[in-house]
């Protein structure tokens, strides 16, 4: 594969005005121009200034990634775009809630594994546990896979939150 055709995964942070429709603008840009979204998280991060931070994990050729950043920057409510993959290093975390239902050995085993993964039990009944687990996406993938045969019934994941290492702000 030619170098300029190689596909890379990038994590992009976007600081936007927290206004109605801003997420639709970002998502519409990706779907309208045929870009991938592998993970997307959004929440208000500065209430006084009315700013939200969107973290997008996407992939494409280097030309496409440059396009994505330029297209994001030209959206009117966008304040800043940062490519955490190239401007890095950065730290990335994801949180998941994992519900396991069962009794007997499987139930005990799920609790033991949860402990090994440093997952916390945040809800329990006599025949279920709900774990809260935080970490790299790959760690959550591994945990969810292990829970499969132990009575996994539901998973809710936040998508990736990422931030640049060091003292600098977005």
């Amino acid at each position: 594969m030619a170098q300029d055709q190689a596909i890379f995964q990038h994590t992009i942070a976007v600081l936007v005005d927290n206004e109605a429709g801003v997420l639709a603008r970002v998502i519409g840009l990706f779907s309208g121009r045929g870009y991938n979204i592998e993970s997307l998280t959004v929440a208000e991060t500065d209430h006084d200034e009315g700013l939200s931070r969107i973290t997008i994990v996407t992939s494409g050729t280097s030309m496409v990634i440059e396009q994505i950043k330029a297209q994001l920057e030209r959206l009117v409510p966008v304040h800043r775009v940062q490519d955490l993959t190239t401007d890095g290093p950065c730290v990335e975390r994801e949180l998941a809630l994992v519900k396991v239902s069962g009794t007997g050995d499987a139930r005990v085993e799920s609790l033991r594994l949860g402990d090994a993964f440093r997952a916390r039990v945040i809800d329990t009944t006599t025949d279920s546990f709900t774990f809260e687990i935080t970490g790299a996406s790959s760690k959550i993938d591994a945990f969810v896979a292990l829970m499969g045969p132990l009575g996994l019934v539901d998973v809710s994941r936040t998508g990736i939150a990422a931030i640049k290492r060091g003292a600098e702000s977005l």
């Binding site: 639709a24 396009q67 330029a70 297209q71 030209r74």
Partner: protein
């Protein structure tokens, strides 16, 4: 009555428009904008042009904007009013035309209930506009309108929609914002990076086979940019070509002008692009109609690209020196650097380059054969050019063969004189655009070069011209076909004319008369001058039915998927086994 310092929403809107310098709006009333129309009724600062279809309103506003350099303003109702405007909005988005479009909306408490004439205008127009707003609180109204004008006109211009629920138009609130408002996040880059500009000027000075490739960005930057471009191009002595959208930024009568480039560009312009060693793109975006086959596009050149929109850099074509900034500002800096370094172009190399270009010019690619006693469309446009070039003239077009012939055979000496739908290719653009142009320039000669099929797309706007005494000329090159589509069927579908014959065309002369205008017709070459002169003299809205040679096609042509050096110069070059490549447009 308003309480102290407070205004009704509709009055806030009109005050903000007046403060923005708006004198004309194009619109169509309806239930959700009745309060705003009532406020319009009670004032006399803003003229309202009643169109016959909302698409016409947007195109008229585009014509107004393109010919004046000011934003065009549109007012339509909710639901169908807004959805009818969509084509015009996308047209303005593709061609970077500043438009502010006010749409009525059902009252805020009914939004989301599928109320009568409710449509999710914000959702629908999100991809059709540069930006859009839904005003939910009368306190935000004035500021939102001022912000919309700022967004529409700054950076790369474009259309902005403001959705106005009916209750907001009658609620009282303070007048907020001003035309000087600072936007909190949107700051387009205007000045180019000086180091990049220096590097570009060095590259330009060392070029042996250079070409300027200019586009609509020069026109959008304002007349000063065209002036600076002329200065710089003459300083360098380089050849210059332009896209469809950039015609007029450099005088067509000048010896350095190569004509338009691209799919129906001249042989000399396209070969200069193919053979050049340095390409200086100012305000154009490497559109597929320009580049032809990408992997064969100007294979041996270094490329400089000046564009106000960073997203256009390296989108289709990789460039060596990108400069993000306004065309006029960058040209000004380029000239300064050129002068301060006492740069001199390589005179010998340039002389060789011009000799080569002159050989290409000698092919006379715009030559054509007179067939029998028919009006050749090329001849018709040559005569139109001759008989109107000294007039205060504005040209609009529809989309198709007539549009390309107009681009080839009419010469433009100044910017803002040529209004055409480039990016979206909207049939039905030219007639309403002419209405908008004539509103802005009531004394000028405004001609819509049209085709028989395009003319039918927004013919209803001829009534608008009649109502407002706008003496526009709808100049129809009538070959009773959708000529350009038929041309592609000739080239790639063995001449199977699937549904491209314009059956049941109206009698355009009678149609003009029935609508209250004047109809003229020409059928033989001998009629051409007489009818054109009669058309010019006429001060009423006029339709001219020009019966042109039916099967004539538009050349030269770079067929879809071909390179610039694989042009078809005339019908004798058309390979009969060429196939349409469905992977290309």
């Amino acid at each position: 009555m308003s309480s102290q310092g407070m205004l009704e929403g509709a009055d806030i809107i009109l005050k903000a428009l007046v403060d923005q310098g708006v004198d004309t709006i194009f619109g169509y009333p309806g239930g959700a904008v009745l309060p705003l129309y009532d406020a319009l009724f009670k004032q006399n600062k803003i003229r309202h042009v009643l169109v016959r279809h909302e698409q016409g309103a947007v195109h008229a506003a585009e014509g107004y904007a393109r010919s004046t350099g000011k934003p065009g303003v549109v007012l339509v109702t909710s639901g169908p009013g807004a959805t009818n405007a969509i084509t015009g909005l996308v047209d303005a988005l593709m061609d970077s035309i500043p438009i502010v479009c006010l749409t009525g909306q059902v009252p805020t408490h009914l939004i989301g209930t599928d109320a009568f004439q409710e449509a999710d205008t914000i959702g629908i127009t999100r991809a059709a506009t540069k930006h859009n707003y839904l005003v939910r609180d009368v306190e935000d109204l004035g500021r939102t309108i001022h912000e919309a004008f700022y967004v529409a006109t700054s950076g790369r211009p474009g259309p902005v929609v403001i959705d106005l629920p009916k209750n907001i138009q009658v609620e009282e609130g303070p007048y907020t914002g001003s035309p000087k408002l600072k936007h909190k996040s949107y700051r387009p880059q205007i000045k180019g990076d000086l180091d990049q500009i220096r590097a570009a000027v060095d590259m330009i000075a060392n070029a042996k086979r250079p070409v300027f490739y200019t586009g609509g960005g020069i026109i959008n930057s304002g007349p000063a940019a065209s002036q600076l471009l002329r200065e710089f191009v003459r300083m360098t002595g380089f050849p210059i070509t332009s896209t469809l959208m950039g015609l007029g930024c450099y005088p067509a009568s000048d010896k350095q002008w190569l004509g338009m480039l691209g799919m129906h560009g001249t042989y000399e312009a396209n070969l200069a692009m193919h053979e050049c060693d340095v390409m200086i793109n100012i305000g154009a975006r490497f559109d597929d109609r320009i580049t032809g086959r990408l992997d064969a596009f100007s294979p041996n050149s270094k490329k400089i690209h000046v564009d106000i929109d960073r997203a256009n850099i390296n989108k289709c074509v990789h460039v060596d020196i990108p400069i993000v900034g306004d065309a006029g500002h960058v040209l000004e800096d380029m000239i300064k650097v050129w002068k301060s370094n006492v740069h001199q172009p390589n005179k010998d190399a340039l002389a060789d380059w011009w000799a080569k270009i002159d050989e290409w010019r000698d092919r006379d690619c715009l030559g054509y054969k007179q067939e029998g006693d028919e009006i050749m469309p090329q001849y018709l446009l040559e005569r139109l050019q001759d008989l109107t070039k000294d007039k205060d003239r504005y040209i609009t077009t529809e989309v198709g063969q007539h549009q390309m012939w107009a681009a080839q055979y009419l010469g433009f000496e100044a910017p803002n004189r040529w209004m055409t739908s480039g990016g979206l290719g909207t049939m039905g653009y030219g007639l309403p655009a002419a209405v908008g142009v004539q509103m802005a320039h009531p004394e000028s000669l405004v001609v819509d070069i049209s085709g028989d099929a395009s003319a039918m797309m927004n013919i209803q706007e001829f009534s608008t011209a009649v109502q407002f005494n706008l003496p526009i000329k709808v100049f129809i090159l009538n070959n009773s076909y959708m000529g350009m589509v038929r041309q592609w069927q000739d080239i790639t579908y063995d001449g199977r004319y699937a549904h491209t014959y314009s059956e049941a065309l109206p009698d355009f002369v009678k149609l003009a008369e029935a609508m209250g205008g004047v109809g003229l017709r020409m059928e033989k070459p001998g009629d051409v001058d007489k009818v054109i002169k009669e058309m010019i003299k006429n001060n009423k809205p006029t339709i001219v039915d020009c019966r042109v040679a039916v099967l004539e096609n538009c050349f030269p042509m770079v067929p879809s998927g071909a390179a610039h050096n694989e042009m078809i110069l005339g019908p004798e070059d058309v390979e009969t086994d060429r196939e349409d490549d469905p992977t290309l447009v």
